[in-house]
């Protein structure tokens, strides 16, 4: 923590508009998919790769769709209440309830709900498969689901049989897709997309890693927007080009000492999703000179990170090498499905493995030079909330002052603004920070 009144250079991101443009183009293509003759698939964001062998498709990623609605509290409340009216509990996945509600109401932020042609899902948490089981039944559309075995990294690494089992399920997908869409699966197109997505994830991890620098070139509030194409957007040349340009720009900011927050005095981690309707809390913290520079949510869902221990047993998050630099390009469907299964295992332990998440939190606090950590105990996502309370204890053990607040990432009805601000005030005070006047 720097008590000195340093004022870093700062300036807006030049690629910010490009990122927004990618998002707009993506949702436009969803809304016009039927007119454009595209197959509209839906499932979770990570499942969008599953349809990449179709000649012409666009994927409605469930979580980003829910998050987008969450930024519109009136529509969000309407959707949540529509789901509740069908008998679903308020404590279930909030993204899912907003997605369901939008479907029940035939609404979306851009007009009517874009009804998908089919559901595809890989079950990396308990809610994912059930979400789209129910939804595809309601919509009367076909549903393909793959399960990804969960393991407990602290006891044993994933066994090869887990990857094989996942790959074998993936192998069922192309013929299934061909059967329900009448379109021919293109293995070469799929392999190209799979390798591209991996490169995109590596690029995003590299960008996140640049935020280890002091001052931080990016703040987490901005990263919540910037990570989206990697986590839930189109897998195409444009997206990859965006991340190459963004990486160059962030590297330039590091080289030039350009900060996200000119008054950076303190660096904080924020764990779990943010309250999408109340992102102003990040600006509020900046008023104390606190920049939030890392968080497992945006790192894990959009980035290709590996978790390794150093010789002293201290955990570190390192960027993975693009898979095409490590092994030959898949030559056929079987190899491509096996590779996809392997990549699934690499990443999703960060989502639902409590033991891995503890280590990630400690690694981030150390490597990203955090002075403290804030954990949102999220009533709206049980998957990402797994391990959070134990992560808090691990951070405290590691000497990282840690604050928690309770909220729901997508349901504003559970937001207590005064309570959260009071907590933040006390926390900032405990870190020796005062409201800045500069």
């Amino acid at each position: 923590m720097s008590p000195e009144k340093i004022l870093y250079k700062t300036k807006p991101l030049e690629n910010w508009a490009w990122g927004k443009e990618l998002r707009t183009k993506h949702y436009k293509s969803i809304m016009t998919a039927k007119d454009d003759g595209k197959t509209l698939t839906s499932g979770s964001a990570h499942a969008r790769i599953l349809a990449a062998g179709l000649p012409n498709y666009v994927h409605l990623s469930g979580e980003p769709f829910g998050a987008t609605i969450a930024t519109m509290p009136e529509l969000a409340q309407e959707c949540a209440e529509a789901a509740e009216a069908q008998g679903f509990s308020r404590d279930m996945c909030a993204y899912m309830r907003l997605y369901w509600g939008a479907s029940f109401l035939n609404k979306s932020p851009w007009g009517k709900f874009p009804k998908p042609d089919l559901g595809v899902q890989s079950a990396i948490c308990d809610s994912h498969a059930k979400w789209h089981q129910m939804m595809t039944e309601y919509m009367g559309i076909p549903f393909f689901v793959v399960e990804v075995p969960q393991y407990y990294p602290a006891l044993a690494p994933p066994h090869p049989s887990m990857i094989e089992y996942t790959a074998e399920q993936f192998m069922d997908m192309p013929p299934w897709m061909e059967g329900v869409t009448g379109q021919k699966w293109d293995d070469e197109k799929f392999i190209t997309a799979l390798l591209r997505l991996n490169r995109i994830h590596v690029l995003w991890a590299e960008i996140c890693t640049l935020n280890q620098n002091v001052p931080a070139p990016l703040d987490l509030k901005s990263m919540y927007s910037l990570y989206w194409p990697a986590a839930g957007g189109d897998i195409n040349e444009d997206t990859e080009a965006f991340y190459r340009a963004l990486k160059d720009e962030v590297q330039h900011r590091v080289d030039e000492g350009i900060a996200a927050l000119a008054t950076e005095r303190c660096r904080l981690m924020h764990e779990n999703q943010p309250p999408w309707y109340a992102l102003y809390i990040f600006r509020y913290m900046e008023g104390f000179g606190a920049v939030t520079n890392c968080g497992g949510y945006v790192f894990a869902l959009g980035g290709a990170f590996d978790l390794v221990d150093d010789e002293q047993g201290n955990p570190h998050l390192i960027t993975e090498t693009p898979v095409e630099q490590l092994e030959p390009r898949p030559k056929n469907r079987e190899e491509s499905m096996y590779l996809m299964a392997k990549l699934h295992f690499g990443r999703y332990r960060f989502v639902t493995s409590p033991d891995a998440k503890r280590k990630i939190a400690v690694a981030m606090a150390d490597d990203w030079k955090c002075n403290g950590a804030i954990i949102m105990l999220n009533r709206g996502c049980e998957g990402l909330s797994v391990g959070q309370t134990e992560a808090r204890l691990a951070l405290i053990d590691a000497g990282v002052p840690t604050m928690v607040y309770e909220a729901n990432m997508a349901d504003k009805r559970e937001w207590d603004d005064r309570e959260v601000r009071d907590r933040l005030d006390s926390y900032m005070e405990s870190l020796g920070l005062k409201k800045l006047e500069d």
Binding site: S161, S385, T389
Partner: protein, 391 residues
């Protein structure tokens, strides 16, 4: 040795003259039972989280598998480890570990079912000193053509890992005997369940739950002997449970016999269930095969699924519930779930519609670690009144 013969038959703690006392005592004194079992057999005890833990493998290793359940008491030790929006059961289960109530366990096995229990397992690993922990994955896609092969590998790996820990091979004969002991238990429990199809069942729903819960907490061979005696005694039972509206209880983890007793005291007779402390635990036998692990895998895949093992449009669980409801001639279904139990929260609205479409009224009730008696009684009575009007 027979499937009902215990090496220490003369000292069975559950043995006494009351029809249900023995089963009840095992539940109430589960920790004393396990410690006493260790003393008299010199064996080891493993805890299992979830009914998908392959008990036969543990039993074949000479280890007593017991289900780790909560104690239904308020506690203040789990809050800092498990977020309060996770289900009360997983917090109660963790509390038992943190409070040292399972200090006699040498091992704890988790078979992945839900994330809440996964968190509980993680906190046990981190904070409760046990020598042996093992996590195995139980497929969600239980009807997938590759599921059996995958689960066979999981069980084989577990067996080999366990063999490494105990320092000896588990023989096919030991596995066979374990399967037979467990199958006998399943068969006997099912025979007792069959009696509930009668217009005046000789056993109540709460008592049946006691049978199934106690089965998960003691040596199956001993339990088999107790069940055989019960089966002989039940036809002559004089104090039959009062006849009432025939209910089926379905839902999540519910080992709360008091809750079922209260429902029955309100004028119901619980004659069937789809609970993991009920029929889901034992309904289908393991069909022996040359490849023992494969046979076990198929047996566990054939269990009536919980919502997380039923994720396709096939809706296996719904068909199972409907078939059972019809077979046992139930007049209504009570859906119970642990508060915040997401898997059951998914199924409840769809199940309600499904049952309604099939002419069976249902009603949902949330459970917590402790039970609000007045509320549960009022709601149950209201449901029963509705049923009487419909009937």
């Amino acid at each position: 040795m027979s499937t009902t013969e215990s090496p220490h038959a003369e000292k069975k703690p559950g043995q006494n003259t009351g029809l249900m006392d023995g089963f009840r005592r095992i539940i109430q004194e589960r920790h004393d039972y396990a410690r006493e079992w260790k003393d008299r057999t010199g064996g080891r005890v493993f805890g299992g989280m979830c009914t998908y833990v392959p008990e036969e493998i543990i039993y074949a290793a000479g280890i007593l598998p017991v289900r780790v359940l909560g104690s239904h008491e308020p506690q203040d030790v789990s809050e800092r480890h498990i977020y309060a929006m996770f289900c009360p059961f997983c917090r109660d289960v963790l509390a038992q570990g943190l409070l040292g109530r399972y200090d006699y366990l040498e091992g704890l096995i988790m078979s992945h079912t839900c994330m809440h229990l996964r968190q509980s397992f993680d906190s046990w690993v981190t904070h409760v000193g046990i020598d042996y922990f093992y996590y195995l994955f139980m497929p969600q896609l239980i009807r997938h053509r590759k599921a059996r092969g995958y689960l066979t590998t999981e069980f084989t790996r577990f067996k080999e890992n366990l063999e490494g820990w105990i320092g000896k091979k588990i023989s096919n004969e030991e596995i066979d005997r374990a399967i037979e002991v467990h199958n006998t238990n399943r068969r006997l429990l099912r025979q007792i369940y069959e009696l509930r199809k009668s217009p005046n069942p000789p056993i109540s729903g709460a008592e049946c739950m006691e049978l199934v819960v106690s089965s998960q907490l003691c040596d199956k061979a001993e339990h088999n002997g107790m069940l055989e005696r019960l089966l002989k005694e039940l036809p002559a039972r004089q104090d039959l449970p009062p006849a009432g509206t025939r209910l089926m209880v379905i839902g999540g983890e519910c080992d709360d016999q008091e809750a079922v007793r209260l429902v029955e005291a309100s004028g119901a007779n619980v004659v069937a269930d789809d609970l993991c402390c009920g029929s889901r635990y034992f309904w289908n036998e393991v069909i022996p095969g040359e490849d023992r692990m494969s046979a076990l895998a198929q047996g566990y895949l054939n269990k009536p699924p919980c919502p997380l093992k039923d994720v396709t449009h096939e809706r296996i669980r719904f068909k199972y519930v409907l078939d059972m409801a019809r077979e046992f001639n139930v007049q209504g279904v009570l859906q119970v779930m642990q508060k915040f139990c997401d898997p059951h929260e998914f199924d409840i609205p769809a199940m309600e519609r499904f049952l309604k479409d099939n002419g069976i009224p249902s009603y949902s009730i949330e459970l917590d670690v402790t039970m609000p008696v007045g509320q549960l009684q009022t709601r149950t009575e209201a449901f029963l009144e509705m049923l009487e009007l419909e009937i």
